[in-house]
Every structure is written in C-alpha cells, then in structure tokens.
Symmetry: C2
Subunit: 586 residues, 2 copies
C-alpha cells in the first residue's frame, strides 16, 4: 500500500487524477460484484524478504525477516476478503516460497506456496504475487515452505474475522495473536547439513523458546559471550525483553495461540488463569477449560481468559517442551501478563509455573480427545469413506542416512512441482508408481526398532478420486532408539479433515473404526499422532490440486516424513506462468 | 563419465551395442574434424554441489563442496580441448553459478558463469552444462560467481597444458597446483548480512589462511572448543593437517600458485628456496627470481623451484597477509616442502619464515613492475587506444550503507543478466544510462576521505565499440578512514589486458601515458591497484558478450566495486535457453 500511496502523493495534481481513477475502478468493481462480494475487500501487502541480524532470544544470529521483522507482519482480514501479498525476494542467493497455513486455497491451488508441490521457488530479485481468498474466519499462519527456511524466522499470523456485523458464539473484549516457536542457534543450513551427514547429526533440542518472537537464552552459559568467531549474546538487548500481554482488569481476552516450532511439542500456561478453549484451526470448539494448553507445531487455538485476578501485580505466561525431554537443555519461554496499569516490565513476584511433566502422555491424549466441534457449528462428516490409507510412520536407516518413512517410502520432493507436472502431464517429473495404501499390518511390530530393509526414497503421489471421501490412519511406531516413539503433528494442505479418533497401540482396522466419533468431530488441518498410538482422519478430496500432507516438524519433513495427494487436476484451468519458472528450461 | 560407464556395464550385451554406437559416433566426429581439431579432446566432468561439514582449518563449519571436496576437483586439459562440466545443484534452497576464471569464453559468452551478467542462476535440483574451449595453455581457476558463495569453499584449479609434443620455454620435472585462500568462520550469509547492516559490520580479518584447502586455526583461542552452539574445533583432525609438497632432491618443480582469497593480499615463500617466476595469468613472464611472491586474489603464477637444499630435512612453505595489518588476528598459513624420502609430516626443525612486513608497499609495487612478457612471447599491444576510461575507486557512505564506488557509481547487479537483456533488448532490465568515463580529475583529492555527496547505486553498462582498443586507468584513493588506502585486485572477464603501467598518486592523463610500457607489457586478467596509486590497462573489445570487471575481493564486489562492459552483442547468435531460466516468467 505504501508504494501506491507514495505514488499518489508524489504530485498533488497527478495524485488527484490517480485517486479519481482509483475511485472509478472501485465503483466499477463494486457494481460488478454487488451481490456476493458486497463486503469482501482486497487486503494488499508488499513484503520484502531479506537476511538481517536479530537477537530474538538475546543471542545474535542471521534470520530471514519480512519488512525487517520476525515474526512477520500479521495479516488481518475478514471472511471472503482477497489477500494479495507481493513478495519481493531480497535474499542473496536463496530462493523462497511462503505457505498460507490453514487457508484451503479453493480455486487457487497454485497459491499454496509449497515449493516442489504447488510452485517453483521465487528467485532472488523476483517479486511473486500470492492472491487468495480467506473463506473462513479463524486463526491461521504463514511460513516459508522451502528447505528449512521456516526456522530461519520466516513466519507470521493470519487472523480472519467474521464479516462485519457477525459475531462469534463466545464473548470477549479484546483479541491477541501469540505465536510460539522454538529457536536454534545453528542456521538452517547447518542443521540440514548435519541431518544429511553420515554419521547422522541430530539438530538437538532448541536453545530457547520464543513467545511472539521473544525468548531469553542464558548468555552466561556461553563461556565467553563474544568470541572471535563473532558470537554476541546480550540479555539486556530490548529485542529479547519478554513479550508483554497487557490486560485491563475485569476484561475477557481472546488469545489466539499458535505454534510454529521446528521440533518441539509445547505446553502453554498463564499463572493463576484458566483458559477456555473455543477455537482450533479455524473451527469452533465445544468449550472446555484447561490450566495448560498442549499445542503441536502447525496448530492454532483460541482460548478465552478473564483478567479476574489480583490486579496489583503481573503474572507469568510460560511455555515449555513436552513429549521430548528438554529439561536440562531448553529453559521455558516466558512472557508477562501485565495487569494495567502496572508497569509492563515489572516481573511477577512469583516463580514462573513449571508446566506439566514432559512425559505425561495421558494428559496430552486427554486434551486431544476433549476437542469436539461446538454445538450449532458441527459439520457432519460423511458416515463412511471411499478409501482408507493407513500410514505407518517409521524412522529408518536408509543407506546410512537416518530418514523417516511412511509405509516404507521416505519422501523426497521433485524439482518440477507436482501441480505443474500433473496438469501438464510431465510424467518424467516424478515416480509414477503411487506409494502404498498400507503396510504389513499383521507382522509389523510397532513396538520394535525397524528392520530397515527395503525402504526406498521415492516421490510418487496418492491420486485421489475427485470428491471421494478418504480416511487416513496415522500409525505411530518405535523410532530407531529402543523403547522410544515420538509425537508427530501432521498437517494437511488444501483441506480440513474431521478428527475421528485417537488410540493407543496398533490400529485395528476391523474394530477401531467402530469407535470413531461421527457425531461431533472437530475439523482441523493439523493433528498429533501420539507415541505408539494412532490418529484417524477423514476428508473429502474436493479441492482440485496437489497437496502436501506431512509431519510439521521441520527436520522430520526434511528427512522424508510426508506424502502428496492429488485430486481433480483435470478440473483446473491453465496454471499461472508465474509458478513455472523452474520448468521449461531445456 | 561414471554415469555413462554405469550404463555401459549394466548389461554386457546392451553395453556392447552402446559401445559400438559410441565408437561409430567417435569415428564420425573424427572424420568431421580431422584438420583443426585433430588433437583437441572433450574433457567431461560431472559435478554435484552440496553443503557439507568440513574442517579446513580444524574449525568445523558448513562449506559448499564439489563431489565432496573443497577445493573442488582440478580440471586438467590441453590447449584447444573442450571442457564440459555438468553441474548438479544439490544445495537446499540456494542457487549457484560457476565462473571459469581466466578462460576468455571466445564464442561462448553464456558460459562465463557470472550470475546477473552472463546467466541466470542454477536452481536447486537443476543440472546445468558448461561447455567451453580452453584456447590457451596456462594456470586458471574456477569459483562460484554468485552472492558470496566463493568463500563458502566453491573453488578450484584449471590447468591447461600445451598440445602434445610442445613444451614450455622453461624446463621442469614436475608440476603442482596450489591455491591460496583466506578462511572465515562466519558464513557468507552472516558476512553479507553484516555488510548490509546499518551500522555497517565489517567482515574482519580471516581466521586463518589455507594452502590448497588446508590451514590451522588455534582452537585453544576459543575459550571452550565445544560450546552448546555446536562449535567443534580439533587440531588433530586430518582434514587440517598441513598440505605437503613432496619433492625429489635435485629435481625442478613448477608450482602453479594462485590466490582466491575473499579479502587478503598474500605473500608466499618457501624456506631456503628461491622462486623463479615464469608465468602470470596464463602468459609467459620474462623470468625473475623472488624470495617471496606477492599474490592478489584472482591472480595465478607459475614459479620454478629446485630441490637443491639439504635433503635430510623438510622445509616450511608459508603464506601471510600483506597490505592489511593482520599481524595479531591471522596466523600465517603453513605447508611442508617435503624432501623425499623424509616423512611427509615431519615438521621442519626451524621456525617458519615470517614473510615480509605487511606495510612494505614498495616491495609489492616493485614486483608488479618486474612482471614483463617473456622474450619471444611478446604480444605487442596496440600503440594507441580508441577510448580511455579512468575509474576512480572510492569508499563511500551511501544512505547509511558503506559501499565502494567507481566514478561515484556503486554497482548493483540486475535480476535479468546483461547478456540476455542486451541481446533481447529488454531495456527495462537495467539502467540505460552508461556510467561515467571519468571523474573530476582537477578537484577530487585522492588523499582525503570522500565527501559522500551524489553517489548513486546504479547498474548501467559501458558499451564498447567492437574491436576498439580501450584503456582503463584504475585510480586508487583514500577510503573512509583517514590516511588509509586499500589494495584492490581488479579482474576482467572475457579478455586479457596489457598492463601498461603502475604509478603512485593521481594519474596525470597528459604525462603518465608517455611512460607506458608498450614494448613488452605482460598480459593478465587480474591486476592490483596499489594504495594511493594507479594502474593502466589496455585491451581490445574483441569478444562479443557482456563482461564483468570488478574488484576480486568478495566483500568489495558485494559492496558495489565493479562495472560491466558490453561489446559486439549484435554479432551473437541465439543464446542458449538454459541460461534464461530467470527471465520469461511473467
């Protein structure tokens, strides 16, 4: 907007003419769209992506910023608005692509921003325009979807409100967005190089946790905070002062809590304040009260809190790692719930609450089970499916590399994006053999380390019949370490799915479907599969395009933990040439 | 080659057929080329570029390797051979381009490998084929020419020998290639982010110097060699054991010494052994003897040494920084001249020679002046020029950024490469106003800090008349620091130039040309401009294409210290589509 504004004011006279012209355009546009689009607007953003030194947790490192910020600017829109983001890549040698997480991209599958799946990457010096409609209210995210750039800091919030005059089925006075993240001091390049090394080098636990881009690393844990390799760590840097949520006593706040961690499952809690969960991934939840909210990478929740505690002091909001033991490696993330008019930086007089035990799986499973669609907002699921795909998640050693697999296939993205290859019938672009719909249910022992035989690196797609109903059973198993099973948050692009159920142990394809919740299942786009457990999803393949479905842990996706679905490609018109920069180059 | 070989052996029967076919092709090819190409061969390389952890100086960091190595494989060819490099980019999110430094690319300007000038970059997942003829014998280099990737380790040697049966005008028994480099522990991304920061953050002096990819950082200077940010430094790592040049007593060695430093000017010396300089940048030098060789980034020399010292011990070969004061920051690089049959790792019994003083400008200027074309190999320069461009090199503050400028223009590369924009007449691709041919000779004080007025960031080109003779005077000046003037090695793509002279102070356009050496000037592709001095070059604009001419210091080029020449574009046929991937994308 700034650009057009500058143009308009550059000369008052010329500006007036442009403004008149704009007014005319708006008028024509309005007339052409009176009925369905009366309230829809265009939300236009101009973003520049580049490298900058930042100290989100007091430790200075190069991050990728949008318009100088990480997290980037929040996109605020109303339901049915069109969002246009003109993204200029000002990185030096690195391409980029941004995914609009939770936005289904109905009719615009090329705007999903998933490199290798829906578009070629955006080169340094190029400006790419993302244009899509936000068709549902709710809390969404955006982030890089190329290599491991997300954890370099390229992420932010999308907040879609109801159309003017409509209101949520719950009351609140104010609305705040908070993204949780984990933070690593090694660059994404270093992490990726380690993950591809033989011997394998794991990324390790994060150095800190960020609440809305701010965390605190204990600089004194470095023997010398400024070595000659240029380490700068300064706990008095205002960039890493704790995030402050200021509240007015007596008021109710909607906190939109989301997680874009690279690795960690988190718990979030506010000292002395219960939270009422009302939204999950853009869908209304039958309200339930928690002391702590478990949240997995890629999930968004809205919780309501009431500022009804002693107003003469501030309170801690904290986040800590669960599901992995980071007790001795990663301190909790801290923010301040500031009761106005106390000083926002005044530390609460208490010790920050420590959060639940990292290995309390039961509580996490209970929260998963508690999330149901809100009465009056239930979207009934189809009562049966046309196809069931059981996806066994295993960790494997493939030719010396540690990889993650689904049904013995460890995923790699092709150079030519699927959407283009499928639409233009470039069969050489990827493996035309689809991956398997299941595994050896009878003989595979999910409680043992994988035998690591016949695992292959492949890039075939699951082709789904258009409008068919598909069930996905995510089956967890033992990792390469004995008696260990990790938690994986799976995220589906282009659709929401109904969460039909969670279970422990091996999914029983004969009996477990009988226990599905077909009454009031929540719809989501990201869901955890718990240790040694399974999660059952159902979705309708009703969105023409190619869509990634993958573990949202950055390193797990890099290590092959994902698949791609394709449906209704024949229904698509011509693809925009702007997504095809990497294709016709011979 | 491995790939074709694998194909051939995959089935013996099928293999035989392919081999017969190949033989037939070779026969046809030979018949078609009997006269001019009788001895020329194709040298084919398959390279894969990726990130790997390496410890060239004992400090572990992510580098860019070619086929697992840094420096990459040496290209060995004979004069008139065709070199084909199939380059696969296996980086994660980063593009790449490789420049063949010193190869003039006559008839193949699109193969020069200069991103933004001669080609679009090569995307991750893509394979790009460089194909060019090495038309002159000599010592050349290759390295990344995109962003600051060169200093991430992407570089190597090209050695072109005389046609079979021909011999050099000097005798030697063996031939060795040694690349000198400086090494930084911060990544190229971090360095670039610092250089673009306000306030400016300089890259500083290198942590170590590498001789043929091996150096030694003093790990104990880190307070703790393995902090939780993952620093690993290990002086017993064989990757950083000193480079060994093994010699047989009594034999004469041709050492091809080249420099690809990111920043440093160097001196190279071998304890107890004189060096006779015989080649510079592919041209025969009238031999002269040095105790130490001064060498600037982008230069190559051949020196002869005779293994005529006490053969019962080994000797140090060392390199140290000159022109900048790195006495307290960068230890000398060490290698071992190993007299066979002594153990190659046996340390010499002496203290390594310390090399000349860093600030001894006179000795460096003297070496520059000593380099003349060898008798019998003199290529006479045109006795006059059609155009003279005087290039004032200044350091400036442009809108808060520290930049380098030529005649008040600080350079930035366009998104669409010049070669394509010029050939296809895409006038919007770059500033159509050419940069100035001179500066305010009368009033500009080269001994003072620049006033920093009216400096602009631009990307116009110097259009040269085809086959015209062009004189370039590089005029050095004071930097932004009082009483400081740096040394800049300028490198010209696509041509060799005659080095007509060097001088101190401000170039006098009336009188200094009278002192030009028009008798036996050396031809080179890289030449230093000394502190507060000038260097005069002459070249013929006889190679259709667009050619960069720039300071070979990686950070200086990044900061704008370069220009582009274009000539004879109208003589070019259609450009290969493989270089145009970033262009037709709207």
């Amino acid at each position: 907007m700034a650009y057009f504004f500058d143009m308009a004011v550059s000369s008052r006279f010329r500006g007036m003419k442009i403004l008149n012209l704009l007014a005319l355009c708006v008028l024509i546009f309005s007339l052409a769209n009176i009925v369905p689009m009366a309230e829809a607007r265009i939300r236009r953003y101009k973003w520049e992506v580049k490298y900058e030194y930042k100290s989100p947790d007091c430790f200075r490192k190069v991050v990728i910023t949008i318009n100088g910020r990480t997290p980037g600017p929040t996109i605020q829109a109303r339901q049915n608005d069109t969002v246009i983001v003109e993204l200029k890549n000002s990185l030096l040698t690195e391409n980029v692509a941004i995914h609009w997480h939770g936005i289904r991209q109905i009719g615009t599958p090329w705007a999903d921003g998933t490199e290798g799946v829906t578009q070629c990457p955006i080169l340094p010096g190029e400006t790419f325009t993302y244009k899509f409609v936000v068709d549902r209210p709710g809390t969404y995210l955006y982030h890089a979807h190329y290599g491991m750039q997300r954890e370099a800091g390229l992420y932010g919030s999308i907040r879609v409100s109801l159309p003017e005059g409509e209101s949520e089925p719950y009351a609140y006075d104010y609305d705040r967005s908070i993204i949780l993240n984990d933070w690593f001091h090694r660059s994404a390049f270093e992490q990726a190089a380690g993950l591809s090394s033989i011997p394998f080098q794991w990324v390790g636990e994060p150095q800190s946790l960020l609440i809305q881009g701010k965390g605190r690393f204990n600089c004194s844990s470095l023997n010398s905070p400024s070595l000659n390799v240029g380490i700068i760590c300064n706990e008095t840097n205002p960039e890493c002062s704790p995030y402050v949520i200021t509240v007015i006593p007596g008021k109710t706040y909607r906190l939109r809590i989301s997680s874009l961690t690279a690795l960690s499952a988190l718990s979030f809690q506010i000292e002395g304040h219960n939270m009422t969960v009302v939204e999950a991934d853009g869908h209304n939840v039958e309200p339930f009260v928690v002391q702590n909210l478990f949240i997995y990478s890629g999930e968004t929740y809205s919780v309501l809190i009431k500022a009804d505690q002693n107003p003469t002091r501030n309170y801690w909001a904290t986040t800590n790692i669960v599901s992995r033991n980071a007790t001795f490696t990663t301190p909790p993330g801290l923010a301040i719930l500031n009761y106005y008019p106390n000083h926002p930086k005044r530390s609460p007089p208490t010790t920050p609450p420590s959060g639940p035990l990292w290995n309390d799986v039961g509580s996490r499973l209970n929260q998963s089970l508690a999330i149901k669609a809100r009465k009056g907002f239930i979207i009934p699921p189809p009562q049966s499916a046309d196809r069931m795909i059981v996806m066994l998640n295993t960790q494997n050693n493939v030719s010396g590399n540690v990889r993650w697999s689904v049904n013995k296939v460890t995923y790699t993205l092709p150079h030519i994006p699927y959407l283009i290859a499928l639409k233009e019938n470039i069969t050489s672009a990827f493996d035309q053999t689809p991956p398997p719909d299941g595994y050896d249910f009878k003989n595979y022992d999910i409680f043992s380390v994988a035998e690591n035989k016949s695992y292959t690196i492949r890039n075939g797609v699951y082709r789904l019949n258009f409008n068919s109903t598909v069930d996905i059973i995510l089956q967890n198993a033992n990792s390469l370490s004995n008696k260990t099973s990790e938690t994986h948050p799976w995220h589906l692009h282009g659709h929401d799915f109904w969460v039909l159920g969670y279970g422990e142990g091996k999914f029983d394809i004969y009996n477990d479907p009988k226990k599905y919740n077909l009454v009031n299942p929540i719809m989501k786009n990201t869901v955890p599969v718990h240790r040694y457990g399974w999660t059952a999803l159902r979705f309708r393949a009703d969105n023409p395009g190619a869509w990634a479905f993958h573990c949202h842990i950055e390193s797990h996706f890099y290590m092959g933990m994902g698949v791609v679905f394709a449906e209704g490609i024949e229904r698509l018109g011509e693809l925009p040439s702007s997504i095809k920069g990497c294709v016709h180059r011979k």
